[in-house]
Symmetry: C2
């Protein structure tokens, strides 16, 4: 279905705008993604928005026209609207000319097939949406299967996290659970739980990582709780040669994830440093 | 000198608040850093603020008291003020209880001693202050000497960049210059210029990196200009196993920088993959 909306007080505009709040996202089980690049990435994964807003006054890119046709063909709603209304929906002065409304993409932990990938990222109490999105983007790049969010993490479907993920939100499985559930599930099958810690001297290049590897990343300020560290099969440390004692959480995740990937891709049974 | 300020219209408060704007930072050659952790990091590097604001109504940490004494002893100005005024200065609802005003820390390119470190990071047209600060933080961790900012980069002394650097702004040399100046300086001495590119198939673990290594990172959206890539001694690619074609700029920098550091620390003459 296609229609035009030009009024700010249109109920659909109000409803979609409310999806910028976590409370409304949770209630509606919907979220927003913006921009041709991310929406095209989603479509390449076979994910079509329920509702697609596009600017009437913009020259539409051929990929945008394909996307509009795909939404229409799938029975979704295509809304042509003004730049002002897109600005209102996205909360940005210079809005993207495409905004998609997608159903929540959380996978229940019980439905996660750990054999689908040799590497998974697990984040605990992550607070920053930019870090969360960047970790998803890194997960895609490094061939991880998905991101398991443990305890109270920032919402992966916030506009900031979706933007930072650059579309990886649509390629990575996303699970949200408590620590107890996660560890119970993990120990019900194969899996090496790998934590980074300041309390160990074991260099991150020393151990041999084993698939499926679960890389556990802690909160930006506190790191991992002591009992979570104790539950790990391996605790390792990225060398810090300067004055600071830690890396940004998304950076530490990437450095660890590429070390694990590098070991796996060269089939190294004894670890990078033997 | 110590004094109390309680009035919002105090000229010093207005002047310091204006340092949130790049224009005023440039004119005054001063910038702001906030919070006990970052200010203590600076003091450990021997850098004391010209002016230190602290909250009168906060319980002062022993390190804050040491900092206040150090500023006083160095002839700086210590200002006790209200949380509201600190909020006005920092632009945050929950301000840190310490704000320091520091002189600009830019090093002229001609004064940079390349032999002081075996690894330097060079960023071109970087746009995001969080990325810039995170790259400084990574530079500290990986034992880089500093960050050379080429062309129009975001201001490294913005509040967001300083915050993301977590104090690394005080441990890393910071240079700002044009590409022509940089490449002229680089070729006047030893140095391997290493760029990441989508246009090469050379895996980033394949080459042998040589000190002093200059790791060149491009703009978040565009990457490096073609002629900058041509000027590199090595172009390499971080493997991308998913759907996306790039990593976040700070993440890519960290993955590259740790590969170079790992080669150097194991004294590997032939590169990670031989």
């Amino acid at each position: 279905m296609r229609r035009d909306i030009t009024g700010f007080s249109n109920p659909l505009v109000k409803r979609i705008r409310s999806l910028r709040d976590k409370k409304h996202r949770k209630r509606e089980r919907l979220f927003l993604a913006e921009g041709l690049r991310i929406l095209t990435e989603a479509r390449e994964e076979g994910v079509i928005p329920d509702i697609l807003f596009h600017a009437t006054d913009a020259q539409l890119h051929p990929l945008a026209i394909e996307l509009i046709d795909a939404v229409d063909a799938a029975g979704g709603e295509v809304v042509a609207t003004t730049a002002d209304i897109l600005s209102k929906i996205s909360g940005k002065d210079n809005p993207q000319t495409l905004v998609g409304v997608y159903p929540d993409r959380t996978t229940p932990l019980a439905d996660l097939d750990r054999s689908a990938a040799d590497l998974w990222i697990v984040a605990q109490s992550l607070r920053d949406p930019g870090n969360l999105g960047t970790i998803l983007r890194t997960g895609d790049a490094v061939g991880a299967g998905g991101l398991i969010l443990v305890d109270e993490c920032v919402d992966p479907f916030s506009v900031e996290a979706v933007r930072a993920s650059m579309g990886a939100l649509f390629t990575q499985k996303i699970v949200q659970c408590r620590w107890g559930e996660f560890i119970g599930w993990l120990r019900s099958g194969p899996g090496q739980l790998i934590g980074t810690s300041l309390k160990t001297d074991k260099d991150y290049q020393q151990p041999a990582y084993a698939a499926p590897a679960f890389l556990l990343v802690g909160n930006e300020a506190q790191g991992l709780p002591a009992d979570y560290e104790e539950a790990c099969d391996l605790l390792v440390k990225i060398p810090m040669l300067g004055k600071a004692d830690s890396l940004n959480a998304a950076v530490a995740t990437a450095v660890m994830a590429y070390e694990i990937r590098n070991q796996f891709r060269r089939g190294d049974p004894a670890g990078g440093q033997g």
